[in-house]
Amino acid sequence: MMDFKYILLMRHELLLVLVAVIILIFDFLTDREKKNRLIPFSIYLFAGAMLVSFFPVKPGVLFGGSFQGNALTDFFKDILNLALLIVFMQSEGYLRKEENREKIAEYFVLLILTLVGMDYMVSSGDFLTFYVGLETASIPLAGLVAYDKFKSRSAEGGVKLILLSALSSGVLLFGLSLVYGATGSIYFSDIAKHITASPLIILGFIFFLSGMGFKISLVPFHLWTADVYEGAPMSITAYLSVVSKGAAVFILTIILYKVFKNITGLWETALYALAILTMTVGNLFAIRQNNIKRFLAFSSIAQAGFILVGIMGTGSLGMTSIVYFILIYVFTNLGAFGVASAIFNASGVETISGYNGLYKTNPRLSLIMMLSLFSLAGIPPVAGFFGKFFMFTSAGSKGYFILILIGVLNATISLYYYLMVVKAMFINKNDHPVPYFRSPNFLRFSLLLCSIALVFIGFAGGIFEYIMSVSHVLF
């Protein structure tokens, strides 16, 4: 039954594994002094794999429904691939440091393997595949957070992540087994038919949602975020806040829409409360931060709250607005992280007050940072505005106007702290600003890509239309 044609459904995952293996072999064959060659090699190899995955394949299922491939999952995996490519390009300067020379291959291989896990998760058609994918994605991440293993913060972050992640996975798995006990199946489509608002299923659902809330760092399951984000290397933080979070949001949305369809009212109530909490608390914490990584960590918590508002829309409009938002969020957040890591690698500055007067010395970096922050705040005509706009539209179509109002208020508060960074760069005086520097070429290219996307995506109506058309088929 399974011929080559069906295997192609899994091309993203298989190609990534292949790339990882090739990098390992290449690493084995490279002399210690020449390990730096691995960086361009891996990036080009990965980019090549990404391009090959672009080729469309007919939708279908594998392993009796455990693995699903369709235009929407393919599109989403392409977004994840692109995001990881940008992360790779932004880590060049960091990896070239002397202390990392031994570990370059690990960096690429581990990141690619987490992405494999996420891809499986995105394509999962039953809870087992989903869980395996989730864990495949989580465990290498702890290693990556502790990548600077001689820095105590990094090691601490890694330990915190693995322990808390184990806790949350336990709760999540417990929830899944309750759902399995109540419905007698692990397949999404079977479970969906048997879901009722019985106490057992409600409890199972709450455990599941809490576990996912940990991955997306929703309040009150978010406490690990700041410490881990701060401890991890800059590009890993970027990866955590964009790719890891985006994949979890995507599969959560699918499961909510498809599996827990019968209890939509119930999960909407839960999400309503979590959205308000997450947006507000994320904002409150972000206001006080001076470390740019912690700042972006809390900002990304607040953004997760906005995403929940979009999920409330349900149906293809909700799905479309989520995928569209994540697409924009990839460029937005990676733009901000890219500038931050460029500055960190060049000068070691990672505080917002250290950015004072940056515009004088590095005008282009400051402009890209400003563009990204405007996009995070949702100021038109930058892409972030359109992302938020469609999510609010999606929630509006179900009549959640009070939630939208709270969302808009929170967006206004967030504007305050985003503008504080802009003010630091453009207005605040500094006798010793970060001196002018030239970033590595990969990083420059990734920033160029992000800023072009931020300016133009909002005006390319076709993208939203395309996502709409591919998600329309599913719902």
């Binding site: 322990l163 409600i202 709450i206 940990f214 009150p220 109530t269 839960a270 914490f285 206001i287 006080r288």
Partner: protein, 640 residues
Amino acid sequence: MINYSYTILIPLIPLVIFVFTGLLGMKWKPLVSGIIGTVGVGISFFLSLFTAYEYFFATATGSAYHTIIPVNMLWLSFTHTLQIHMGVLLDPISVMMIVVVTTISFMAHLYSIGYMKGERGFQRYYSFLSLFTFSMLGVVLATNIFQIYIFWELVGASSFLLIGFYYDKPSAVAAAKKAFIVTRFADLGFLIGILILSYYTGTFDFSKLLQPGTHLFAGLAGVSFLGLSGITWAMALIFMGAAGKSAMFPLHIWLPDAMEGPTPVSALIHAATMVVAGVFLVARLFPIYHFQAPDVLIFIGYVGGFTSLIAAIIAMTQFDIKRVLAYSTLSQIGYMMVALGVSGYGGEAGLGYMASMFHLFTHAMFKALLFLGAGSIIHTIHSNFMKDMGGLRKYMPITHFTFLAACLAISGIPPFAGFFSKDEILAAAFESNKLLFYVEYITAGLTSFYIFRLYFNIFWGKDPEYKHKPHEAPLNMTIPLIFLGLGSTFGGFVPFHKLVTSDMKPFTTVTHWGIMLPSVGIGLLGLAVAWVLYKKENDLPDKISKKLGILYTSTYHKFYIDEIYLFVTKKIIFNYIARPIAWFDHNIVDGFMIGVGTVTVKISYKIKKFQSGELQQYAFVFVAGVIMLALFILYSLGYH
């Protein structure tokens, strides 16, 4: 079928030039940006002519024209019903308008190379001109009302930028702000009108809205607010936007001040193209006005008539030549509005519609010419005031003859262009509304008087003491004058009744001798009076103005309308509305916000201890969160 996709280039070329001149202009020599801009608009101009040729003549068999939409891209898709497109719509009025816009724009570009030579910000000037041209073309080619709105605002913004071009001059800055605020205020009405209209009809697209006999408006006609139906409100509010851009009374106050901008800008934006956008908008929506909101159409006619009369009266007393022309523009746009107001739909009944578009066309030619002529005079005299001029016919022969042609055209003397279009307007008004006919008839006489008062004051009379001998403008300034002079002289022979009509079908006009002869007569009368009073220096005008006393002074002060605005805004709105609101804003709203801010910061310090860095506590909060969530859900489900 002819493929018209290339028409998308007509607006896109100026856009590209705007982007490049705006970004890179400062690195080029000034002249380079001028030449690039001029050549680009020149290409657009020839493309427009070609489009007009193909549209009107290559396929015409004497039957009706069709609306063609060669390009229509989806821009924003909010839902499956609410979608916004951007595209190009070709029908007789849009084809006519692109010809007008690109012609005048090309002339202004060419002319400005000489006029603006050596000015600081030459490149900035050209990038703004291209931006304006792009926006204006976007308005006239719009396929839906939302696209019009977007470009409408862009037009307003570029007009603001160009009026305030001399930004180191306080009066220019004030004028730019005034223009922006007044038109922006009017656009608020426009936007609300669009929203009402599209909310009930469920579409922005002209292809659906403009079908005669469509049932889209059934829902809107049923709604009523303050005794008027919903459709009346919507169309009246949309007209408010049109009145703002076209400077109809009482929103006209910004236009005379807008003359602070460079003179070619006045010619392009504030005489020939942007200010007729309002007329174009009413014409574009004419089927809706005619079939759904005839009351509003009548109202438009009266607003136009009143504006044309009062502006002509004010124009008689002004001494700044650009201001005379500005009031004259108001008056002529009033004519076009009157023509739309009295028009019916289809065939002979649509005479007013045709006349309005015809007058728009001819007016663009002769008014742009008057402004550019005035520009070349100001360029050599360095003054805007009549008292500094006189006897210039000897020094500036080309300017003199072209200016004279424009004066004859605006006065409606045959066979100049204005004669034909104005005659059609008077005939249309005569058929349906006698009051408006008489108003416009009298205005025709006043027009002829004020324009020849201007003409004689500039070109005849005694030479004042010139510091430098005045000289004719250079070639790149006189070529546009000559071109527009030809347009003003022969433009009237374009057979508009076969080309641009209300239902897009040609019809035959009859000559209204009974109206034509008296209207030529009153034009000649005005000319004669101006001849007697101003050809030779004498004290008769002063005596007359003294005799008229308060009547004259109040006219000279433009009927104190600006002062009334100031009184209402400064004395009443500021004191009795703005101050209390400001107090409320300062103490209550700000106080609340500061309170919120303080509380937010305090809370954020209070909850700091949650973020302790201790793993056990994180795990505890996680589990507590799960339990809280479970309790919350159970509570909301009613388990309590």
